[in-house]
Every structure is written in C-alpha cells, then in structure tokens.
Symmetry: C2
Subunit: 102 residues, 2 copies
C-alpha cells in the first residue's frame, strides 16, 4: 500500500514526481517540492482537469488571469483543463496529492 507521507526523498534540486495509480480514467501522483517554482516564462496548460491537495507544507499557485491561491496543509484546489497556471512558491518540503482526470 502506498503512503503519501512516508519515504520522502531527500532534499533535491528537482521536484520529485511519482505516479501512485493510473488507469484510463484517472492518474494519481505524489509530487514533492523542495522550494522549486515554475519557470517565469512558463504556464502549465493541460488537457486534463486536475485537483491538488496539500498534504504537508505550503505553496502558491497563480492563474493567468492574475488569481492567486495561497495553499496551506489540507487545502484543495480544482484546476480545470487548459486553465493556465504556475507555481510561484513552495515550502521545502511540500507534499502534493495531484489527481488528473483524463
């Protein structure tokens, strides 16, 4: 059985992405951030709806329209497909549950 809070890889220069479960309808990921943010000139622009829950740490997500979401432990954010977004802050470490609905 997978545990989101255990076996966190050591502080890293790269974010750590791990597929926890995947089928034809859904992909469940664990993401561990160590202070990383999205590059200034880049927006995530996905074909799938996504939602995230912060399991540990904190982060800030910004939408292209200027909306800003300050995410603390336990916070839930649903991001519709093609809602351009980026991560402008992550605490070190931050554990994300990310679910992509295909």
């Amino acid at each position: 059985m997978f545990n989101f809070l255990q076996n966190i890889p050591e502080n890293s220069r790269e974010e750590f992405f791990q597929t926890v479960f995947q089928n034809e309808k859904v992909k469940v990921e664990r993401i561990v951030s160590y202070g990383q943010t999205t590059p200034e000139d880049f927006w995530y622009d996905q074909d799938e709806d996504e939602f995230v829950v912060i399991l540990s740490g904190s982060a800030i997500i910004k939408y292209e329209n200027g909306e800003i979401f300050y995410l603390a432990k336990g916070d839930f954010l649903y991001i519709k497909a093609h809602q351009k977004h980026k991560v402008t802050y992550t605490e070190n470490p931050t554990i994300w549950l990310a679910v992509f609905i295909v």
Copy 2:
C-alpha cells in the same frame, strides 16, 4: 477554498459526509468518522471506482474476499467498482479524502 483539516464538526454519532467537488467525471468527498464502522451485515458495493487517502486518524477496510487493509495517516487505497468492502474500524476522529470516479 476548501480545507480538509479545518472546521471538523464535533464528535458525532453519525459519520459526516461532505461533497467538496462534483462534476460529470468525479466526485470528491470529505468523510469524518468518529469511531463508526459499517454494519456487520452490510457491504459497500458501488458502481464507481473509488480511492481514499487517510488525512488524519486511522481505519481498517475489509474486502469480501477476506483481504484486510490497515490504513494509517497518508495511506492510499484504490477500490474498484463492485469490490465489496466495509469499514471495520475507525479512530475517533478520522478524516478521509474519498474520490469517486464516475
């Protein structure tokens, strides 16, 4: 923005079910258990795939085939549609993230 860990209703005789998000593809629920379990003679038997993550507390889920899952904080379990299952133990309180894939 919804937070899974805040505004937990007080100890209750009933489990607390709350729909956090719903569209045509997915339903996201928060469930708070206060020691409740599934009645002895009942099995959950759902048309949708479901997965759960324990955000706080602990629980035990049993499958009809006898498999038993001891779920601690952070644990993830994917339950396929029509996999008959029941909850045989919950800590008071236990906070579940439950996601139903329609």
